[in-house]
Symmetry: C2
Subunit: 138 residues, 2 copies
């Protein structure tokens, strides 16, 4: 698990116990998670700390925020070489209305969008809702 510390160190985040645990949790989960998810998992721990831990991860660039249209902010680890700020590697998020999970579909890149004259795009968010493959197979 040295790996975890390396990830943090590489992004200039002090490897506290809590951060290592949260990072591992994010790594294990393949889906985007909410603050409440983390909170439930680390039952004994304080909500604020977890909240700030997630925000630190976002600020330092190892994870990104996702708005999947449920009104609840989700978090997911960035891919290798991800530069969240830049328009080019934006991808699709899929929210399953059955299991309530949100996954990043990195294969699908958002196409160039031509806005009416005068509009300046800074950020694009594409969310598809429906049934995910797991729920579909059941």
């Amino acid at each position: 698990m040295q790996n975890l510390e390396k990830i943090l160190a590489h992004n200039h985040i002090k490897p506290t116990a809590m951060r290592l645990l949260v990072l591992q949790f994010l790594l294990n989960k393949k889906v985007a998670i909410s603050l409440t998810d983390v909170e439930n998992y680390f039952d004994q721990s304080d909500r604020t700390t977890l909240y700030r831990t997630l925000n630190t991860f976002v600020a330092k660039g190892i994870s990104h925020k996702i708005d999947d249209g449920t009104g609840i902010t989700k978090y997911a680890l960035c891919e290798e070489n991800c530069h969240c700020e830049i328009n080019t590697d934006l991808h699709l998020h899929f929210h399953c209305t059955n299991c309530n999970e949100t996954v990043c579909i990195t294969d699908y890149k958002i196409p160039q969008i031509h806005l009416p004259k005068g509009y300046i795009a800074e950020n694009v968010n594409l969310v598809v809702k429906g049934i995910c493959d797991k729920c579909n197979c059941k």
Copy 2:
């Protein structure tokens, strides 16, 4: 303003005073509005009534809900012939981070999205954030 009553009647909504007022408000506003917007405008009126009025409009199909990524649910009247439920007339929403307004950009239709095997799309939401034409010109 007979028109307003016709719209409601056509969608099987009883034309109460409140509903007519809210409908007119929506018609005048070219942008997507939040419950709070309506609430501020109809200062004397109860929030719950407005909340339920908007929900009724959505349920009966004369307006649709928009999630513009601000975390605040917005509402906008459907276009003529809109069938919100159906994937074909989904359009783009643009949220201006300067004036905080959200507009429907109906000219841009969301292209077909090819999801991985097993996924079923029911709904697509595409939100672009940035600076709108009005703010850009200032």
